[in-house]
């Protein structure tokens, strides 16, 4: 069982690698497509996984992950459990700004299967930002994709002077107010 590490491989030139982890494959694919539609000045490759750990056999072919996005559906308790078990296979140094939690289905209070507080607590425990969105709406999906592309740019080290760690501490500041 390979633990995902942020710095065990060399980065590729002018590119960022995003790993989407979530139990809902259809939503995951839609989000990935939305991300690829976004305008950008660097190469993005997106890896999709339903859960971690990633299989170890093709590990040598896999690039270095710059940002891991855990997708949680507020309507499915399983998605939260799935993320919680997957988190065990992520190296601690990833949580210095290279992980984020993406919560979808927000606003559908009547369909809630998870308490929003539980997700917030997860974000606090793992020192990572929690983004709330509704991926089933096209507009919000595009905005979320844009947000993730910008975060990926920073996490891949393509923005001079801003590191993933400084970015995530900025996010935390605004979160604590």
């Amino acid at each position: 069982m390979a633990v995902l590490r942020p710095f065990d491989k060399l980065p590729r030139l002018n590119s960022g690698v995003l790993l989407l982890v979530g139990s809902d494959e259809a939503l995951q694919r839609q989000l990935a497509e939305a991300i690829l539609h976004e305008k950008r000045d660097f190469n993005i490759s997106i890896h999709l996984a339903t859960s971690l750990p990633l299989p170890s056999e093709r590990d040598h072919l896999r690039p270095r992950m710059d940002l891991v996005v855990f997708m949680i559906d507020i309507k499915s308790k399983y998605s939260l459990k799935n993320v919680e078990t997957s988190l065990a296979y992520v190296d601690a140094s990833f949580f210095l700004g290279k992980v984020c939690f993406l919560v979808t289905g927000v606003g559908r209070v009547n369909a809630c299967s998870i308490e929003t507080n539980a997700v917030r607590k997860l974000g606090e425990t793992y020192c990572s930002p929690v983004l709330f969105c509704e991926l089933e709406l096209e507009g919000v999906r595009a905005a979320t994709a844009q947000r993730l592309v910008r975060m990926l740019r920073i996490c891949a080290g393509l923005v001079p002077g801003v590191s993933a760690l400084s970015f995530v501490s900025l996010m935390r500041k605004s979160d604590d107010d």
Partner: protein
């Protein structure tokens, strides 16, 4: 997401406290002498027993009012499917004028039926309206007595002394709705929960009359899967003095071409035994306990059928106490737990209003 954090935590604390009270109320009501089993039995689930049996031994809790409540007066509530609504406080409502209100509401319904033609107030109409107070259905001193609205149709053909046929029932209530009634100004009456039984067209008519007359707002009260899991945990753990029907959970699997529902029935004694092993302090329910209880049920199902029920949406629960659908339809089956159930629903209605 950041601005509301501190108050939200406070609200949750309060909610938790209220649930604890609800649980305590239910625990107090439980009769003594039920054999507690520690391990779920492997007995096959027998067919649900009918509910007809009366229960002479049980006493309706003195919770609903100071004087002992009469089970006959609240019996109409039981075994009916009620559609739930939340109602904002009524402005200028006076209990002394119930008779006038009934007349006006009757005329309003008749006028609406005639598409706006003028109707004389007070004459005999097709639909008879009766408004009455139900002093038995209330929680604390601060709660207003429940208000019952009955619509019945007059039979023209048959003789005068024949009974009117009831066509629609609706009632407003507040059971331990202190949170809301403490905070409203004078001239407002807090009856945040509205339950209706009958044709939806009548619900719409009565609702619009109340909205116009008392400047309030009706909204359908849906129950989230999260709250349904609270209910099933609370009600599965209740002691009953008679053989109870199965605890049933209905899940709907999302994102399929054809709708697929999964029904998961558990023997009530097994459900209670499981809850007893999960619950740490009797009369108190925590979020973690509900989580563990549901996870145990999910794990059991997964072991047998390799299906993650936690990925599906919980749409309906039924227990011996009551059944609830996520669309906001509730059936209360047991008079003993009526205050507890209404208290929980009042709480949900208040949280929707706020």
């Amino acid at each position: 997401m950041a601005e509301g954090r501190a108050p939200r935590a406070g609200a949750d604390g309060k909610k938790f406290e209220r649930r604890r009270r609800a649980a305590a109320a239910m625990a107090e009501e439980a009769p003594e002498g039920g054999a507690v089993r520690t391990l779920p039995s492997l007995r096959r689930l027998s067919r649900a027993l009918p509910f007809g049996r009366s229960h002479g031994r049980l006493i309706v809790p003195a919770l609903c009012s100071q004087e002992k409540a009469d089970p006959q007066k609240t019996a109409f509530v039981l075994r009916k499917a009620w559609t739930l609504y939340s109602v904002t406080p009524l402005y200028g409502f006076r209990r002394a004028r119930l008779r006038d209100y009934a007349r006006l509401l009757g005329a309003f319904i008749a006028a609406e039926k005639q598409k706006g033609l003028a109707v004389e107030v007070g004459v005999e109409l097709d639909i008879k309206v009766a408004l009455s107070s139900l002093a038995d259905i209330r929680g604390s001193e601060l709660d207003q007595a429940a208000l019952l609205v009955q619509l019945s149709s007059r039979s023209r053909s048959s003789s005068r002394n024949s009974e009117d046929k009831p066509v629609w029932l609706g009632w407003f209530c507040s059971v331990f709705g202190d949170e809301l009634s403490e905070s409203v100004p004078e001239h407002f009456t807090c009856l945040p929960l509205f339950l209706s039984h009958g044709a939806e067209s009548y619900t719409a008519l009565v609702g619009s009359w109340f909205q116009k007359t008392f400047d309030c707002c009706f909204r359908r009260l849906a129950i989230s899967p999260l709250n349904l899991s609270w209910m099933v945990a609370m009600w599965a753990g209740c002691k009953l003095d008679r053989a109870a029907s199965a605890v049933e959970l209905v899940f709907s699997v999302p994102r399929l071409a054809q709708p697929l529902d999964i029904s998961y029935a558990i023997h009530p004694e097994d459900a209670k035994a499981l809850w007893d092993t999960v619950q740490k302090t009797p009369g108190e329910i925590t979020h973690e306990e509900v989580d563990v209880f549901m996870d145990c049920l999910y794990a059991h199902f997964h072991r047998h059928f390799k299906i993650h029920l936690s990925a599906a949406k919980l749409v309906k629960i039924s227990t011996a106490i009551a059944s609830a659908h996520c669309d906001g339809i509730v059936k209360i089956l047991h008079s003993q737990y009526l205050p507890g159930v209404l208290m929980l629903l009042t709480e949900l209605a208040i949280s929707q209003i706020q």
